[in-house]
Subunit: 371 residues, 2 copies
């Protein structure tokens, strides 16, 4: 019997790669986009609705779930999959990013990150061991090491200290990790400093994780800065392991990152923009509240086979948002998630057919920086 988790590399087209992740909850194709279900729910969509439009994997947030309802409670109820009724793979982050970005970050030392809950103000401590334990309780198929993610404008010294701490914590996470049915990924930090990225990647590679993430992108740097650092950073990671670019991103970011050799993505954009009345289309963003859609009998995208596009006009969606109906955010999120599913399927097909370079060029020329 093969290990519960392994990565199978199927095709390469230049630096772009196509493969399969085999997990305890089934196999998913890469490049892969994970829809975000922060609090054990994708906002406005049921698991059935997600499966209908081809979603194969979700991401859920350790920080949020640890605070509410608590990882022990979820374990007691049979784990995150059963709790939220999702049968396919799930990845949980380590909680670190939210501690720095969302909670009141009180103190960070080599021992732990101490923070104040954004829900009830209580003071809590997150150690690498605790981050692993929480994720084992949740029972995700992929767990992430606790890392330190400094702001993009951190000075060289702060960046270096964050990298050393990230390496130290990765070592402790690996030692603490027990679940054989769960893969633990390392996270490479170092911002846009390629020397630091190299140092971090080398140290983490020595720890032989089954997969690696690039952290510290999409944290305020410009798209140009990200693109410039991405290719060289991805190249530092082991070839035969999956590579995950955390928290990215727009369709154009994803296409560029796949060209740099990235396999996995997650982002709140399809659902957040859906709630905010913005739909992704191959012709650019559609702001459905705009008056031009008031009498428009056409769907969001004429060539989209998602339920929203098959059954509803732009005029109806426009009406739902003006009337403040919950169904508006649901139907637009549904389309956006379908748009991302279709995009990733097209990316995989283009790689398989050795025409990803062309796909990349045509897509970016069509979208510009609009989506």
């Amino acid at each position: 019997m093969s290990a519960p988790f392994h990565f199978e590399l199927l095709d390469c087209d230049g630096t772009a790669r196509r493969g399969r992740l085999h997990t305890a909850h089934g196999t998913v194709e890469t490049p892969l986009f994970m829809v975000v279900g922060t609090q054990a729910a994708v906002k406005g969509l049921t698991p059935d609705q997600l499966e209908t439009v081809g979603v194969s994997m979700l991401l859920s947030n350790t920080y949020h779930l640890a605070l509410r309802p608590g990882a022990e409670l979820i374990a007691e109820l049979g784990g995150l999959h059963r709790f939220m009724n999702w049968r396919r793979p799930i990845l949980t982050d380590s909680g670190g990013f939210q501690v720095y970005s969302l909670a009141g970050n009180l103190k960070i030392s080599d021992h732990a990150a101490v923070f104040r809950s954004h829900i009830d103000g209580s003071v809590l401590e997150l150690t690498p061991e605790r981050a692993v334990r929480i994720q084992e309780d949740l029972g995700a198929d992929i767990a992430m090491c606790l890392d330190e993610c400094p702001p993009h404008d951190a000075d060289a010294d702060a960046l270096r200290r964050a990298v050393e701490r990230t390496i130290h914590w990765a070592d402790r996470c690996r030692a603490a990790h027990r679940r054989a049915d769960q893969a633990l990924f390392g996270i490479v930090q170092g911002g846009t400093d390629l020397e630091l990225r190299g140092r971090c990647a080398e140290a983490l590679t020595a720890l032989d994780f089954p997969g690696y993430a690039l952290g510290g992108f999409s944290v305020g740097e410009t798209p140009q800065q990200m693109v410039a650092a991405l290719g060289p950073s991805a190249a530092l990671l082991p070839w035969h392991k999956p590579r995950y670019l955390m928290g990215v991103g727009r369709p154009s970011d994803i296409v560029r990152a796949v060209a740099s050799g990235i396999d996995m993505f997650d982002c709140v954009l399809p659902t957040r923009n859906g709630r905010n009345a913005m739909a992704f289309t191959a012709d650019g963003p559609v702001k459905i509240r705009n008056a031009c859609h008031k009498r428009d009998a056409a769907p969001l995208e004429s060539n989209c086979s998602c339920p929203t596009c098959r059954h509803y006009s732009r005029a109806y969606l426009h009406h739902l948002f003006l009337a403040n109906e919950m169904l508006g955010p649901t139907l637009l999120s549904w389309h956006n998630v379908a748009f991302y599913s279709r995009l990733l399927a097209e990316i995989r097909r283009a790689i398989a057919e050795k025409r990803f370079d062309e796909f990349c060029r045509v897509s970016l020329a069509r979208w510009g920086e609009r989506i």
Copy 2:
């Protein structure tokens, strides 16, 4: 070929009746509960989700749709069924009730009701002819005559004037009505004054509508007052025509009203209570925010086959409401709508098997006035 609309009476059990409404969008079984989709959308649920739990017919509100997006726009887009993607029958009300309860009611005369829009404050006029025209534009299977619905504490004179105006308007609605694929129902007013109800029913029966509604119930009178007036009021309506009790109600109200000979109902309770974290169960209401549900692995109802009960624990639903996730209102509304579907199916079966009296007694003993 039979007329697009007709009512088929199948069984009686005492005063309770079981039948079928044949409409331009298919046949539905009575007694029947219509789920409310005020603004051309059932709050938080897609048409697919409604069909999954056995919803056979919707009600939509003429007042809201006439103001936004406008009946002409909906007609231009192919009518309400296509606009909201609902294939089965729809009933629209006349808009009168909302003019009195929701809008700024400026002036009511025999000619028209003049009111101020609750959306933009504009002054508008609703005549019987306009109410019919709007509903013909919307294209519902059943349209309602414009009536005057006085408050339950109106004095005898005001009540009498409202009844006379309702009769006068029904006559004008009938004369104005053109669509052969749409049934126009008359509305009997008269509050809890049986003499006035009789006068109104007699006048409207002479106009030979294909169905009749009782209006002016559930407008502030006590449940006792409603029950006392309901049986005699229903008995005034033609036996072979469908009888619709507007805006009612709780499960216990529905069971009592079926016993009085009512065939059709509508109410916002299943969806409104669902959004407000209250679930209907045969054991009484469940307030899912209560702390007692925090660790409860059981479903809302163990014998319910709705998707919410098949897939989710009370603990998960509790979590969704505490975390303010949109999925909470959706999943609870879904269960509540399924609860009403099941209740009406049980009512129909009990009538068919000539044991409705027993069903009624057992249900009311079990629920009391709790649901």
